[in-house]
């Protein structure tokens, strides 16, 4: 009986964020015109950490925003309705390069919704995508620009990113159906 399999630990997460922060700065030759936008829920603390890391190494604060894409989703009818959260981006994104941050990239539908939402807010000069984990199985032609870790998974698996800010711990775990069964059984003891 195997528990949830830990794919990344706290150190792995920290290193990935540090690396991505450097990649962003390198690729954009600085941080001018950048705006970091975290996708609710766990993209938001990730974007926040990226902002901090960039501030530490570049000494410049990158504007930071939060995006709720619920109203742009294409699966309203099939998922349980979620509570709406607000979208807050403190700067006009028009003419800026938006760094969109999400925790797990999977089918690409959430990112699709986020692209629509961003474009309704203005006309950015470009949009780049960060994800902590890319687990494959894309249903749309979307690819990340910065990846923390590529993780091959089966479609029936669940990849769970947990962050200090939201879950009290930094880790990425794989919940496979067998693992889920094991947990259920453990729960009965």
């Amino acid at each position: 009986m195997q528990p949830a399999q830990k794919l990344l630990g706290a150190d792995d997460v920290r290193r990935a964020i540090t690396r991505i922060a450097h990649e962003i700065v390198e690729r954009n030759r600085g941080v001018e015109d950048l705006v970091l936008v975290g996708l609710r829920t766990r993209g938001v603390p990730l974007a926040h950490r990226l902002q901090r890391t960039i501030l530490e190494c570049e000494g410049l604060p990158v504007p930071f925003g939060e995006l709720d894409v619920t109203l742009y989703r294409d699966d309203l009818q099939s998922t349980a309705l979620r509570a709406l959260q607000s979208t807050q981006i403190p700067v006009d994104i028009s003419g800026r390069r938006v760094i969109l941050v999400d925790d797990v990239l999977y089918t690409g539908r959430t990112v699709r919704a986020a692209l629509d939402a961003l474009i309704d807010l203005g006309r950015p000069r470009g949009i780049q995508l960060v994800c902590l984990v890319d687990r494959g199985h894309r249903e749309l032609p979307i690819r990340p620009d910065y990846v923390g870790k590529n993780l091959p998974t089966a479609p029936e698996d669940t990849v769970k990113v947990r962050l200090l800010e939201t879950d009290g711990v930094d880790e990425v775990v794989l919940l496979s159906p067998a693992g889920a069964g094991a947990r259920a059984e453990a729960g009965r003891d």
Partner: protein, 343 residues
Amino acid sequence: MIEQRPAPYTDVAPSAAVSAAAGGGPGRRRRHVLDLDDYAPAEIEEVLSTAEAMRGILARPIKKVPTLRGRTVVTLFYEASTRTRVSFEMAAKALGADTVNISASGSSVEKGESLLDTVRTLRALGADTVVMRHKSAGAPYLVASEINASVINAGDGWHAHPSQALLDLFTVRSHLGRLDGLKVVLLGDVLHSRVARSNLWGFTHMGAQVVLCGPPTLLPPASFGCDGLPWPATVEYRVDRALEGADVVMALRLQTERQAAGLLPSVREYVHQYGLTEERLAMAKPGALVMHPGPMNEGIEIDTAVARGVQSVIEEQVTNGVAVRMALLYLLSGLSADQARGA
């Protein structure tokens, strides 16, 4: 003879009936919005916070999201209305829905088509949401029982106008920061007012203290007393006493027909006794909010100076109406027609 009639032993049954009709209740997502009587505070809270997010969308350059793309919202109005119908239409369009407007004049209703015939037509044409207004209390319940679409009551007779009450709650809370413990005065023709009834449910559910004030002929009959009211509200005939310490004063529209119906000696006397003037408003707390569900008879139930004064949030009520109606349309959308049929 003022005899105390027994308390409403029906207290439980109607709520249960509403829940069954509306599909609300614990663990189930509401299918219709017919009245606020069976809304739990948490559910009202959900509508208000969703409306907050919707207000953000309305503040953007592109005031439109694709959430309800491909859905059809029908507004079915058997009574004339500008603000409510337009407000729902704007809300539906901001969420990307298609809208179809039907009003009693210029439709088959004029040829004597029954409400249910019209509704069956809408059902056959595949409406997803029907927003309806009707002169008869309860008409939306009849429609809800015959259609698999969601029904939103936009006013039925004297009975209810839930979206208006929700936008009133939203407006008050965004100004005063809370609802709990506020003193809210509903001033005027409470008896014939669906806005008053829905606000009675809304404000009392959220912990506000509601005072009904108006001439005795325009309040619920006194024969069964305050204890017999379906709401924990108090009745005060004298306006000065009612307004004392009020946080919110909502003047209700006075239909001038009430004089012809023998309910008022004259509109003039009403204005003299109950019109919301600056002097009267001074009895309320400093900064008390002035509200009116519209359309206003300026100079009758409310003085122009008060209606346009600094304490008035009347225009804002209209603006907030769109956000609140977007929230309602969004919250109903989680249940597709197919799921509703299965439910």
